[in-house]
Amino acid sequence: MATAVLGHDDRRLVAEASLDFLVVEMVDLMHRSHAGETGETDREAAYFKLENLGYQLGMAMVERITKDRPRFLDNLDVVKFICKDFWIALFKKQIDNLKTNHRGVYVLTDNNFRWFSRMSGDGTSADISRQAFAHLAFPCGLIRGALGNLGVATVVSGEVTTIPHCTFQIKISKP
């Protein structure tokens, strides 16, 4: 992660590879710890846990990143912030495409999602997408936490078609 964007005064470096391994291992650990349960429930439980972890981190991160920013004026402003500054702080790149229906649904497309860029898998592309999907819980939570702390309550879901390409759908829940 780019520490400079996070506003640290004492810049510390983190080995990128070890951070990637940590993220992969975190997902794996959650799924292993729920492996005893049956069928879909174990996958859902792990997904829920990872999403919650992301939510907490997103909340804390956004507090730091928005420290020296002017206030946001509307929801689109906030979503643009997620696409640019937030994504750069996390992945050193911007979201590639943002679509909206102007009724509270935003679709963010990342053509080269960093946590997928070094992944490969066995089987058909459907199998690979299913395996990669488990790794989307955490970033979905990150987005939801960031938006939540900025005052926009949302539901965020992710989708993988072919790695490393993925989309996030943000649905703003009406108050």
Partner: protein, 143 residues
């Protein structure tokens, strides 16, 4: 700096009190008064952010009450900081006030970066580090 900080308050995003510190050494300002001022400041903050299109986090002087001046600051995450100072003959510079608020903001960011801090719990802040930072802000301002 030629003014005394009487009180520093942190108010959460749902207008819940997070932290109120009475810094005065004067018995004329009991804790209750600090709570009262912080409470009344919320209305002024809401009014300020709805009327001004200016997107600065620093909101400036909210109001003056008898011999006190109340300043406000709102973060992007809708957390409000309130500083109450004694009114003096010399005008208080916005620049100095901003510096104080920035110090509080830094302390707050450090607080929420703690993984054991639950952002949705709405508990009152009880952190020795945060206490220390606030005490520094209060002490640094009185000449």
């Amino acid at each position: 700096m030629p003014f005394d900080v009487i009180c520093i308050a942190v108010i959460g995003k749902t207008n819940n009190p997070l932290y109120i510190k009475n810094c005065s050494r004067n018995a004329a300002y009991p804790d209750l008064k600090c709570h009262y001022i912080a409470h009344t400041a919320i209305d002024l903050v809401e009014e300020k952010i709805s009327t001004t299109k200016q997107a600065d986090q620093y909101l400036g002087l909210l109001y003056a009450l008898e011999e006190l001046a109340v300043f406000g600051y709102i973060t992007n995450t809708r957390v409000k900081f309130i500083i109450v100072t004694s009114l003096t003959d010399a005008a208080i510079k916005d620049q100095e006030m901003k510096a104080l608020f920035r110090k509080i903001h830094n302390a707050y960011v450090a607080l929420v970066s703690n993984p054991f801090w639950d952002p949705d719990a709405q508990r009152v802040i009880s952190s020795p580090n945060f206490d220390r930072a606030i005490a520094q802000v209060a002490a640094g301002s009185s000449s």
